[in-house]
């Protein structure tokens, strides 16, 4: 019964992939090997699509693998399997937190955790930024700065940054900036395609 094995496999992935969507990728390669539901090269396409469509990357990949393996129900079941462990674990943790919210120790824990969490996200943001505007492969080959840095993308990032600080535009919804940038990307062929 493919639906049952899909649910089981994605439940396992959701349970053991710690730290977000991309952490599921090694599990999916393993799944391709083991089951033959889809090939490794199909998976590469799936990752590309999952990254360039809205939504959580992990859920997108589960939907794609589920659909390729077993149609529309496969998509639903794989997504349900993936989110189930988080759902259960977080419901339990949330219950505890609510109970101990006024406990001093919980408050002290979060006093230390908040700057750590901010530091982790800041480090991911720095990584994404460097991957986006710099070509690190060329950096390793000791190319000049004009070849490594993508100045068009840096300019767009600077424009978005300025718009977010300007009095007239700073209250706009983030999706407006995203749509604007997509348009600029198409008009100026920022992806080089």
């Amino acid at each position: 019964m493919i639906y049952l094995s899909l649910f089981y496999e994605f439940f396992k992935t959701g349970l053991f992939a710690i730290g977000g969507g991309m952490a599921t990728v090694p599990f999916l390669y393993n799944l391709a090997d083991k089951t033959g539901w889809f090939t490794a090269s199909e998976l590469t396409d799936m990752i590309a699509v999952s990254e360039s469509t809205p939504g959580s990357i992990g859920i997108n990949m589960a939907c794609y693998v589920g659909f390729t393996s077993a149609g529309i129900f496969g998509s639903l079941i794989a997504a349900a399997g993936l989110v189930m462990p988080s759902l259960i674990i977080i419901l339990i943790i949330a219950g505890f937190l609510e109970k101990f919210r006024t406990n001093n120790y919980v408050e002290y824990c979060f006093y230390g955790i908040r700057p750590a969490s901010t530091g982790l996200i800041a480090s991911s943001a720095a990584l994404i930024l460097s991957e986006t505007v710099l070509n690190l492969e060329l950096f390793k080959q000791k190319a000049g700065i004009t070849e490594i840095a993508d100045f068009k993308l840096i300019a767009l990032a600077a424009v978005v940054f300025a718009l977010m600080k300007l009095k007239w535009t700073k209250k706009l919804h983030p999706i407006v900036f995203i749509a604007f940038s997509a348009l600029v990307g198409i008009v100026f062929k920022l992806g080089g395609a």
Binding site: F16, I18, G58, C63, S117, L156, F180, G185
Partner: protein, 180 residues
């Protein structure tokens, strides 16, 4: 509107507006949950991300479950989580069925190069907002800098940083309590 339906549609909106996974969702969550709806404070969002980073599964799902659970109990947590997943299911199914080459179209590639640059700026702006709430004294500044630098140069599980920081928080506050 029915409260469960509202949770479902709000998180469906968040899912549909997120480009690039869990971190890209942070600016959208700040706007939709903290600024527009008062469903979670900025501090609570930071806490949810911290817990999401050291528990299994997709971080976005963890945040959705927390917020849904807080508003409407366990069914609320389920409604928010499935709301978040709904746009993915619809969009990916359509692409998988009709547009398998989607990621290779020049327009898609170019649009996404632009979107990625924008999302970086949005996430950095979101981090600055978090920073103002989380870094309140010398100790929290030291923790931020230590974790930022360590996480940038070594690949260690985020859970280690979170557990150490929690222990440090308790230790330091306990000492202060005794002195006072």
């Amino acid at each position: 509107m029915n409260a469960y339906l509202e949770l479902f549609t709000t998180f469906a909106k968040v899912g549909a507006m997120t480009f690039g996974g869990g971190y890209a969702m942070l600016p959208i969550l700040q706007r939709e949950l903290a600024e527009k709806r008062n469903w979670a404070t900025e501090e609570e969002l930071i806490d949810y991300y911290a817990i999401g980073q050291c528990t299994p599964g997709v971080i976005a799902v963890n945040v959705a479950t927390f917020v849904g659970r807080k508003r409407k109990g366990i069914p609320g947590g389920i409604a928010a989580t499935f709301g978040l997943a709904a746009p993915s299911i619809i969009i990916i199914t359509l692409i998988a069925a009709f547009l398998r080459r989607f990621a290779e179209y020049p327009a898609v590639k170019n649009a996404f190069a632009g979107i990625r640059a924008c999302v970086c700026v949005l996430v950095i702006n979101a981090v600055v907002k978090m920073w103002k709430k989380a870094v309140t004294d010398k100790l929290t500044l030291a923790v931020f800098l230590a974790v930022f630098l360590c996480a940038s140069f070594f690949s260690v599980s985020p859970a280690i940083y979170v557990v150490l920081a929690a222990a440090l928080g308790v230790g330091v506050r306990k000492v202060k309590e005794k002195r006072a």
